[in-house]
């Protein structure tokens, strides 16, 4: 990572030239998404129906929320594996411990946010204050969480209250998917957050932690709260997953682990920290879920879906890097 551009937040939005757009990982992944979307529309003309759009948002949102949280941690140059555990834990809690009716939905939000916050706080404490390697300590918390999930529900089953299912995977008046509103809220919160001191600190820590500490940024506190926020987002990912699947599965989180990191990377966030953003991670997640849908509708044998998935992941990153380099070259 170059020393220049270590603080993308310092760049003022607005007046974005083509060059800046091309150098922006978020824009690149958005183009990939639109391409896939067009292919899907040709294959399945009903994609743009209210049902089709709701379906797209519902399928993408659990991974997108997870990627938003994981992306935050990656920005600080950390790795957070606990996502798999938190998703499994909130999923089984929501599928077993809730009354039906509107209170069930309110409690579900509280449980998802609360469980995520607790796990995130433990992660944050271990990484920021005990100074363990993030990948190792979050691996341990992930394992503990999946153990607790197994205690709550030892086999797939349970019943997610209808209020949660319809409340979070349904549509609002005017055919607006609830999941789209949730996604929009997260995006708006992120846009606000990155303008705060905390947001600046997240980028600064990822770019150069030592320099950030010397510049007077409260590194430990900023890291701690980043893991907390990430935990809450994983919790909500578990909530959305419960709403979409309507059932509990103590092993349901594991598929999200690697996919989440893939989404973050495709979304243009650098694993070396300090570069990228949450919106890119979320679009990256949406792209991955859309890709599966496109491959399915194109009639690719499910045996070979993985080959295309792998190739598209690599290509998305390579094309993003090439356009970014071209754009930078033109700027010089």
């Amino acid at each position: 990572m170059s020393a220049t551009g270590t603080l993308p937040v310092a760049r003022r939005p607005g007046g974005a030239s083509t060059r800046r757009l091309l150098a922006n990982g978020t824009f690149n992944v958005f183009v990939v998404y639109v391409l896939l979307f067009v292919i899907l529309m040709i294959k399945q003309p009903d994609t743009l129906s209210a049902f089709g759009v709701t379906d797209l948002f519902n399928n993408a949102l659990p991974l997108a929320l997870a990627a938003a949280g994981g992306g935050l941690v990656v920005l600080t140059r950390g790795f957070d594996l606990s996502v798999a555990g938190v998703i499994a834990l909130t999923n089984v809690l929501i599928a077993t411990a809730l009354p039906d009716g509107p209170w069930g939905a309110v409690l579900a939000v509280a449980i998802a946010g609360g469980a995520g916050l607790v796990v995130g706080a433990v992660n944050g404490y271990l990484v920021a204050y005990v100074r363990l390697q993030s990948i190792a300590s979050t691996l341990a918390t992930m394992i503990v969480c999946s153990g607790v999930a197994l205690l709550v529900l030892d086999a797939p089953g349970g019943q997610v209250p209808d209020a949660v299912v319809y409340g979070f995977s349904g549509v609002l008046p005017g055919n607006v998917p609830v999941s789209a509103v949730v996604a929009l809220v997260v995006v708006l919160l992120w846009l606000a957050l990155r303008r705060t001191d905390w947001g600046v600190a997240i980028y600064a820590i990822g770019a150069d932690e030592t320099a950030a500490a010397l510049a007077g940024i409260p590194v430990r506190r900023a890291k701690f709260f980043t893991y907390c926020l990430a935990g809450i987002l994983y919790g909500f990912a578990g909530l959305m997953l419960s709403a979409v699947t309507a059932t509990g599965n103590p092993n349901g989180g594991t598929t999200y682990l690697l996919l989440m990191f893939a989404a973050i990377a495709i979304g243009g966030t650098a694993f070396s920290g300090g570069r990228g953003g949450v919106i890119g991670s979320m679009i990256g997640a949406a792209t991955l879920t859309l890709l599966q849908k496109v491959l399915f509708s194109a009639g690719v044998s499910s045996f070979y879906t993985g080959i295309f998935q792998g190739l598209v992941m690599i290509l998305a990153v390579v094309i993003g890097a090439i356009t970014a380099r071209l754009a930078e070259g033109r700027a010089r």
């Binding site: 100074r131 999946s146 709550v152």
Partner: protein
């Protein structure tokens, strides 16, 4: 990871004093891990009298060999500042190829094993090519490669690999020299060779240099790209070797045989004190980490409690080991020792 940077700043005067025993701090982690593991084996006697015996220790050592072999490749890649998420699928690939190419024929071993290692090594080299020439982040490159390998294996085998058990490989596990299974002796040799490779060969030392700063290594005239590609090839071949061993141990191959080894391979390396951002760590640490993880899961799986509790204990012990063996503590140990020496 990056927390270490601030730790270094904070303790820089101490560090200057203890510069020479820097390796010492890593070695303390290794010794600590082995000590924790042995205590765990002995303590398991409290659970059941049949535990803590030589038989059990032998069984654990045999099981450790798979993680230990994969962890060598994984650790070399992590030393470079990379990560190899394809090792699980690569192990499966190695197992499936061994199962179908070698089978019951003892004479096929002679060409079969090198062929399997070559194939997995070449696929690993493709990872390296992607990382160096196409600048794909290692995380994405190896994750995608893992998915692709799995998918190809699934397509070609149709879900169930066909082949035959390899008795010659099973022999490694069933026959003993002075009461020690041959596979353990082989692993001891592997550990020694692996350590020599990383610590005493120019190639090994360059791994540390590139992991610390690829730019500086390139300026110093190191063929960075070639070394990176070769290291990913080594990781592929190591995972392939684990697949070969697994066929010998289990007598068969399945499409998921490598899956459960991906996270342990990374965990063993990181628990063993290797920095995930590269440039620092010992293979002995990864071996100790593999030994700890295998012992832990073996001991826990024999306790008659719910799966959930077992999983929780597994995670908590890893956490405790991490907290006990963190860097500040080993530095403190060293300081204590040097004070006592004065």
């Amino acid at each position: 990871m990056s927390g270490l940077d601030t730790a270094r700043i904070a303790t820089s005067p101490d560090e200057r004093r203890t510069r020479r025993p820097r390796i010492g701090s890593d070695a303390w982690t290794v010794i600590g891990l082995f000590a924790v593991t042995i205590v765990m084996i002995l303590a398991s006697r409290l659970i059941s009298p049949s535990f803590g015996s030589w038989d059990q220790a032998r069984a654990i050592l045999v099981l450790t060999s798979f993680v230990m072999v994969i962890a060598f490749g994984q650790q070399s890649v992590i030393l470079l500042g990379g990560l190899d998420l394809s090792v699980g699928s690569m192990m499966t690939l190695g197992g499936i190829l061994t199962f179908s190419w070698i089978g019951g024929s003892g004479s096929a071993l002679i060409w079969g094993i090198p062929a399997v290692l070559l194939v997995t090594g070449l696929v690993g080299a493709v990872n390296g090519l992607g990382v160096t020439f196409f600048r794909v982040p290692p995380f994405i490159m190896t994750l995608a490669m893992g998915i692709i390998i799995y998918s190809v294996a699934l397509g070609i085998t149709g879900g169930t690999p066909s082949g035959q058990a390899v008795p010659a490989l099973g022999w490694l596990f069933s026959h003993r020299l002075f009461g020690i299974p041959w596979v353990i002796l082989l692993m001891a040799l592997f550990a020694v060779l692996g350590t020599i490779f990383q610590q005493a060969t120019p190639f090994g030392r360059r791994l540390y240099a590139i992991g610390t700063s690829p730019e500086a290594a390139a300026i110093a005239g190191m063929p960075v790209r070639r070394i990176v590609i070769l290291t990913y090839a080594i990781s592929g071949a190591a995972a392939g070797l684990a697949g070969i061993l697994m066929v010998g141990y289990s007598g068969g191959a399945t499409l998921t045989m490598g899956d459960s080894y991906l996270l342990p391979s990374i965990a063993a390396v990181v628990i063993g004190g290797t920095s995930i951002v590269g440039g620092r760590g010992l293979y002995a640490g990864a071996i100790a980490g593999a030994f700890l993880l295998t012992t832990l899961s073996t001991v826990i799986s024999s306790i008659g409690i719910a799966q959930g509790w077992r999983t929780i204990i597994y995670g908590l012990v890893i956490l405790v080991a991490l907290v006990l063996l963190r860097e500040e503590l080993s530095l403190w140990f060293l300081r204590l020792r040097s004070r006592g020496g004065r």
